[in-house]
Symmetry: C2
DNA sequence: ATAATTAAAGACAAAAATACCTTTAATTAG
DNA sequence: CTAATTAAAGGTATTTTTGTCTTTAATTAT
């Protein structure tokens, strides 16, 4: 469904929302370990999420790291997909037809349409904070590597 | 959502169901042209679909080509995904977690579950024939390259 | 000011997906 | 039987994705 990059971005964002604050930043190595992702590749992805301060923030130097503000926790998960440029999923034809549209639909178009809407709704209505709370309850990432 | 390979497989299967019969086989070049796919890559994909006669059939030599039997037209689209080994989509965690399950769910698990079910249902209930008829009505692939 | 720590940036490497090409095998038509 | 046609098979090439490594810049602590 999603690329590795997107999966890591979503997991990292949720983890950062769980564990960080302006006064408690998380290092790359901690994040990568927790979400079971390759550190250097994860660094690239986190950079995308910090660009224009769109989702998370970062600070260099000792005691630096990544964190997310309370206000950014109110952003929908979709924002993460946008930052990673994986947003096309939501307007692509399921058969990959460039010309597929309401007036020239592919044979799956009208059946896939409501499913796509639900997917969009899922990522639009769930905020980063809500998901981090759910992850809290499930103590999700702690043993992820196992 | 799907890989190029899967998109081509689905489009080719639908096109073959539209246009072929045991007495009217379609050549690789015709299929690739119609569904707007690279011929050589499409050849590989069609080979997967003919393995064990699982979805389509092929005959070599003059007037040879690809076709699908009436009985195979009754197969669900899901069969195509299985032939291409893209079936994992339907049991993968949306966050890519290996350990995600009913008892150890990721924060999106229970919200994604019904959507996944609908996706499975879509590919399970639609037969190749039904989709080829829909494609007929929309004269879908004829001008796909445009 | 200096040294230590951390992310940013950019180059590089490996793996996977996609695409192409050549040879072989099967089939048919003549 | 021979030549022509078509898919099968296998190798190669390109592109994209994923992953690594090194250098640079920022920040902090001493």
């Amino acid at each position: 469904m999603f690329s590795k990059a997107t999966e890591y971005a979503l997991r990292a964002t949720i983890y950062i929302a769980q564990k960080s604050s302006v006064v408690k930043k998380l290092s790359l190595s901690e994040i990568a370990k927790a979400i079971d992702s390759p550190p250097s590749f994860t660094a690239k992805i986190l950079q995308l999420l910090t660009k224009d301060n769109c989702v998370i923030h970062s600070v260099r130097g000792p005691n630096g790291g990544f964190y997310i503000t309370e206000s950014n926790k109110q952003l929908p998960l979709k924002k993460v997909l946008e930052a990673i440029n994986e947003n096309e999923l939501f307007d692509k034809c399921i058969l990959g037809l460039k010309k597929c549209s309401e007036t020239k639909p592919c044979p799956l178009h009208f059946q896939y349409k409501p499913i796509k809407q639900e997917l969009i709704h899922l990522f639009q209505t769930n905020t980063i904070q809500e998901l981090s709370e759910k992850a809290d309850n499930e103590s999700l990432f702690i043993n992820n590597a196992i």
